[in-house]
């Protein structure tokens, strides 16, 4: 009995410590976001208050009014959606075909090939930005969506391929064979069986690719100098005049551009975690 009690209280302490740690971790992880959110809803005076307030004293929607009445910002969100969306679609289309081939086919130099793909992802973008600028200018695509999408695809594709290879390798081979015997061509087997089945993997990859492209700043800042193509990452720092920086508006904009990502993850996380392949084979 005594042993049971002591082990019971041991469990209690363990779970208290467990949740305390989780709370601490969440606080650290979410602090920057919470701080930015606080900045977006307080007055300009409070932003500059010293010492800074932990909890907001004043509440105001001015910053949000500023950004939403700004045509530049609205246009920038549309641009971001277009650039990140197109990048994601291209990456998934090319990446899934390439990953499928790598996962399923036997060919020479497969692993050096995979390493090479990965090496591209590690290539520092800054190193190629000047030559790219020259080439894009010559090709006449500077200051267009293409000048943002092309480098985004190049740098996101290796990630896409690697993630998808891992997912495709997990799928039971029998399903493909079953589809082929059922009368499907290799491509039909791929689109009708493999892709739907790897949906959790494809969604995960899509989200990561989208986030990558959504957050991209360097290429956008270099190749896009017209508001008709500039994405939000470039526009947010421009909430400033020569004399002042509108930190409140920047914070509000940061919150607004984060929301689509959060929504995306929330929508798809159920698909990501649900084991879609359950029931395909015994087990």
């Amino acid at each position: 009995m005594a042993a049971a009690t002591s082990s019971g209280s041991g469990n209690l302490w363990r779970s208290v410590a467990f949740y305390a740690f989780i709370a601490f971790f969440l606080l650290v992880a979410l602090f920057p976001l919470l701080w930015v959110f606080k900045m977006s809803i307080i007055t300009r005076a409070e932003i500059f208050a010293s010492p800074p307030t932990i909890l907001p004293n004043t509440l105001t929607g001015t910053s949000y009014e500023t950004i939403f009445s700004d045509a530049r910002f609205q246009r920038a969100i549309l641009n971001s959606v277009i650039v990140a969306g197109v990048t994601t679609v291209i990456c998934l289309f090319l990446g899934s075909i390439a990953a499928y081939a790598i996962a399923r086919l036997r060919f020479r130099f497969k692993s050096p090939f995979l390493t090479l793909i990965l090496a591209i992802a590690f290539f520092p973008p800054v190193a190629i930005i000047a030559p790219l600028f020259v080439q894009f200018s010559q090709a006449g695509i500077i200051n267009t969506y293409a000048s943002l999408i092309i480098p985004d695809v190049v740098f996101a594709l290796p990630l896409t391929v690697w993630l998808l290879v891992a997912f495709f390798k997990e799928l039971p081979f029998d399903l493909e064979e079953a589809a082929k015997v059922d009368g499907a061509t290799t491509l039909q087997a791929f689109w009708k069986v493999i892709v739907p089945l790897s949906a959790p993997g494809v969604f995960t990859t899509a989200i990561l690719t989208f986030i990558f492209a959504w957050n991209e700043f360097l290429f956008a800042n270099t190749f896009a100098f017209d508001i008709s193509v500039q994405p939000v990452t470039v526009v947010i720092p421009q909430f400033a005049t020569i004399y002042t920086v509108d930190y409140g508006a920047q914070a509000a904009a940061a919150v607004v551009v984060t929301i689509p990502l959060v929504i995306l993850v929330l929508i798809f996380q159920r698909r990501i975690v649900s084991g879609l392949t359950a029931g395909a084979v015994k087990g």
């Binding site: 029998d174 082929k180 039909q188 089945l197 879609l276 392949t277 395909a280």
Partner: protein
């Protein structure tokens, strides 16, 4: 529906790993053929070559009159049931069954009609809208069968379809598959490692070992007239007993002698067989456990050979008993071709490997450690050449 013909079909992996050695087989339209053999014997490879999932290294494979060596699976018009069912998990039962028909652009009324018919045959009417994950093992197995029968294909290929089911369900599905075949009569190739499935379901059995066809025969014929030691040992459970023996002439009779036993060979078996080279020479004597009976329960001991043994273990099956015994002065023959099998069941080193087994009536008086008289049915004795391991009697 169509016939399937193997003409010197060969499969080699890489440079020199031979999976199938010059296989020749004619499967007439509507026959149920079972490929059976120990794991790694090439039975699945042979099946997958028919499906088109495996290249054919050499020889010709016909489905109907057409050589299909280079025809992709989707154009062969065959249906396959996989060991792990391979149901499409993102589709419900109806969609799973309709998938092949949709790919063939069959019109949707026809698809509905066929899927509903198949569902009725298989008792799946109430599950058509479920996903595979919500089905039991037996139901999944039925969906896999349903996916095959809606197609009305030239042939069914089944790759160990029952091995994932529990023992009771396996027996039940075995009967259902047999019933299904009787009903629709499509040429079927069925792969299994289980000799019971082969015996119960097949019109003809093809027994393979190391990529070489050992024998092709209807089940009863394969059981009664095995070509060689391997076939004799593989078909039948418990497996045939093999003992080292000696062939002698005795008053015009030919007698197989082992230990104290002297089994006279029945004359019918000796027709068309030249036994001269074996007289006074070693042979391997094969006796099926069911051909040894307790002397007390045999009504008509004519044509039998008595042996006296001391049972070491007796296992009761309810409807029969297995009596394990050592035969004094006789040596159990360890055949090379069966060595792997023995190793698999772990019988090589322990005593059980040295024991012979009799399958006797439950009324037997045999007790462990107490001498008992058993009778061997002389007409059912098999003889094998100790070198080639081929059957001597026909």
């Amino acid at each position: 529906m169509a016939e399937i013909t193997f003409e010197d079909v060969k499969k080699v992996y890489g440079e020199d790993v031979v999976a199938i050695q010059d296989m020749n087989l004619d499967i007439p339209d509507g026959e149920f053929v079972v490929f059976v053999g120990p794991s790694g014997c090439g039975k699945s490879t042979a099946l997958r070559m028919v499906a088109g999932l495996e290249d054919i290294t050499d020889g010709k494979l016909f489905i109907g009159d057409e050589v299909v060596n280079d025809v992709p699976p989707r154009e062969r018009d065959i249906a396959m049931v996989f060991q792990n069912y391979a149901l499409y998990p993102h589709m419900n039962v109806r969609e799973n069954m309709a998938f092949a028909l949709k790919l063939r652009k069959v019109d949707s009324d026809e698809i509905d009609r066929r899927v509903n018919d198949a569902a009725k045959i298989l008792g799946l009417e109430n599950f058509l809208n479920r996903k595979p994950v919500a089905l039991s093992g037996g139901q999944r197995q039925r969906v896999a069968l349903g996916r095959a029968i809606v197609r009305d294909p030239k042939a069914f290929l089944m790759d160990e379809p029952l091995s994932n089911l529990d023992a009771k369900l396996r027996v039940q599905m075995r009967t259902e598959i047999a019933k299904l075949h009787n009903r629709i009569g499509v040429t079927t190739i069925y792969v299994t490692h289980d000799q019971t499935e082969a015996m119960t379901m097949a019109d003809r059995i093809v027994l393979l070992k190391d990529g070489i066809v050992q024998q092709i025969a209807p089940p009863q014929e394969m059981y009664e007239y095995p070509n060689n030691v391997f076939v004799a040992g593989f078909i039948g459970s418990p497996a045939m007993n093999f003992v080292k023996g000696h062939l002698e002439k005795d008053n015009g009779n030919i007698v197989a002698a082992f230990g104290e036993a002297r089994v006279p060979l029945s004359r019918e078996k000796l027709e068309n067989v030249d036994l001269d080279p074996y007289i006074n020479n070693d042979v391997v004597v094969g006796i099926r456990p069911e051909n040894i009976e307790d002397a007390e329960v045999v009504e008509n001991p004519e044509g039998t050979t008595p042996i006296t043994v001391e049972p070491q273990v007796i296992e009761s099956m309810g409807n029969e008993k297995y009596v394990y015994f050592e035969l004094s002065q006789a040596e159990k023959a360890h055949m090379e071709s069966l060595a792997e099998e023995e190793a698999e069941v772990g019988g090589e080193d322990d005593d059980a490997g040295e024991l012979l087994v009799a399958r006797v009536s439950p009324e037997t008086v045999a007790r462990e450690g107490k001498e008992v008289r058993l009778l061997i049915d002389s007409s059912k004795v098999h003889l094998f050449d100790p070198e080639t391991e081929e059957a001597i009697l026909q």
